[in-house]
Symmetry: C2
Subunit: 330 residues, 2 copies
């Protein structure tokens, strides 16, 4: 039985290139005691992948050249010599861009497919959904009646943040890069307004939509848009830095020259590292799956087929060509 592996073979400067990856095939290794073998069904394409391609470390080591690319994936256990895991169970974790993954069970989370289809456990019920949930609730601390502004709102994190904020009684405005994404935010996700940043003047749109200023800015994008949001903060504002998708291929990153606006707003800038909440995921998955089943929350997937499409799918994250949570069906 052969394992098809997407290996990182070069560290990109700037934009990710297809030649940064190589697809190789090698036999699946035999299981040792306390190991299990997972057949991956879905690979998750997340902006964090770009950071893992770099040598430098932030909160986790970069991927070594020549080894399997790190990514979240979900699949079924097809063999187990581990006492805590059984054949047939579904799990998700950093299992890498490959068709089969050996694991010692560490860092794996079980996917209860009664709570939602397996692919959802890589999206709204997985790491991105948890990032939205804990980032908004623990770091943004929304209060009823407040205004929440989200950049990159049509992504799985952004659209989930917005829908949770609506559930919590907030006014929600988001940016996206096309009219169809903006329509999706308003018509499907219940946003109060959506700003097409490619067509509209975001500063003017914010002045229209947020006459009392922004109480929570949840930032997935970074760059000049961060400065625009800072210029429109309400008193006591919280800025939650989740990502900076517009800047991951740039060096140095754009620094927000309006950073002192956080001082005059008497607010603060903090951020979300979702792994810090790993022990609280189950209660969040429970609550989110409830919202999904009640129709209070919607989510959208963009599924690409074939592991050999990994590199081109990664590029879509940065061009914005995907619409919905980007997944690779193995």
């Amino acid at each position: 039985m052969n394992n098809i592996i997407v290996a990182l073979v070069a560290r990109p400067e700037g934009m990710v290139k297809e030649s940064d990856f190589d697809v190789i095939s090698k036999p699946v290794e035999a299981l040792a005691d306390n190991q299990l073998l997972i057949k991956n069904e879905f690979l998750s394409l997340d902006p964090a992948i770009r950071g893992w391609m770099n040598e430098g470390t932030t909160y986790i080591k970069g991927v070594e050249l020549g080894t399997v690319m790190r990514c979240f994936s979900a699949g079924q256990i097809i063999e187990s010599r581990h006492p805590d895991f059984k054949e047939g169970e579904y799990v998700a974790g950093l299992l890498g861009a490959q068709t089969y993954a050996l694991s010692d069970g560490k860092g794996l989370s079980r996917c209860n497919i009664d709570k939602g289809a397996l692919s959802l456990h890589l999206g709204v019920l997985g790491m991105p959904g948890m990032t939205a949930y804990f980032g908004l609730l623990e770091k943004g601390k929304p209060r009823e009646g407040e205004t929440v502004f989200i950049s990159g709102a049509a992504g799985v994190v952004g659209s989930t943040v917005g829908q949770i904020a609506k559930i919590k009684g907030c006014k929600v405005i988001g940016t996206a890069g096309s009219a169809s994404k903006c329509n999706y935010l308003i018509n499907d996700c219940g946003f109060d307004a959506a700003i097409n940043y490619k067509e509209e003047n975001v500063h003017e749109a914010l002045q229209t939509h947020c006459p009392d200023g922004i109480h929570i800015f949840y930032d997935n994008v970074g760059g000049p848009l961060l400065d625009t949001a800072l210029a429109n903060l309400a008193r006591g504002a919280r800025v939650v830095i989740c990502g900076a998708i517009s800047q991951y291929n740039k060096k140095p990153m754009y620094g927000p020259s309006n950073y002192m606006k956080i001082v005059t707003a008497r607010g603060y800038i903090n951020g979300i590292i979702v792994f810090d909440y790993i022990h609280e995921y189950p209660k969040a998955v429970e609550e989110m799956s409830q919202w999904l089943s009640e129709g209070k929350m919607k989510t959208k997937e963009h599924v690409v087929s074939g592991i050999e499409q990994f590199a081109s799918a990664v590029k879509m994250l940065f061009t914005g060509d995907n619409f919905g949570k980007l997944l690779l069906q193995v």
Copy 2:
């Protein structure tokens, strides 16, 4: 009796110029009911002055062209038709760059000269000292054993922050722009280390002096130094933005490209607006004057004589040519 007034006559682009001010003389107006007349003894030269010269508003309106330049000053009441103020009392407030000031009493604070000389009420016992006290204690929240890093540490705010942090049991490191200022920080203010940013590599020095990272960064300077500090934060770090003296003559201001370090540090960036604590000044003055009298706290003044020196004294704030709290003796 004539009043000598320093009026703002032009809004500078970039560095302040002497021609932005004009010195004029006109008769002192007669007192109305509920007014008092103050003879200014000291004018305070603070970085905030640069912002007040701009048209745009941040937390307070810019000074109108042709009118007296806004600044803090302290003096003695020489006439009063106000029920709450008596002739002979000492007061401080935004009385402007002039020899005599009419006031309705609003925003004035009494200077108890038993607690310290009048000039100290514009420095360590005045607005800069309060900025240090509340910025460090309320926004930085120091804990014993933590490492506090201060930029612009030889200024009255920075040196006061450092000394309060030492009283609270912290390790304290600061930057300054000359060997004599660094010596002052170590020998007089009790800092654990001082970094001459003009001669040393600050990043390397921080790695040496803060092996466990920076728990509190109190920033008076901004610019690339802010990025260097962000790159050296400890987990749970608090960044207190007080000012950005290196950037006030620049447009746009330098934005910190390392801002996402606050996310991986699981910390937050906030700032201090001292006016928010005005009702708590008396208890802080009490505590600070106690520390001064016990020799636990030291302060340094740089006094320039003659109101016509106002413009050249303002420029010193940005060249760093002053050493100690900059005051103009009227």
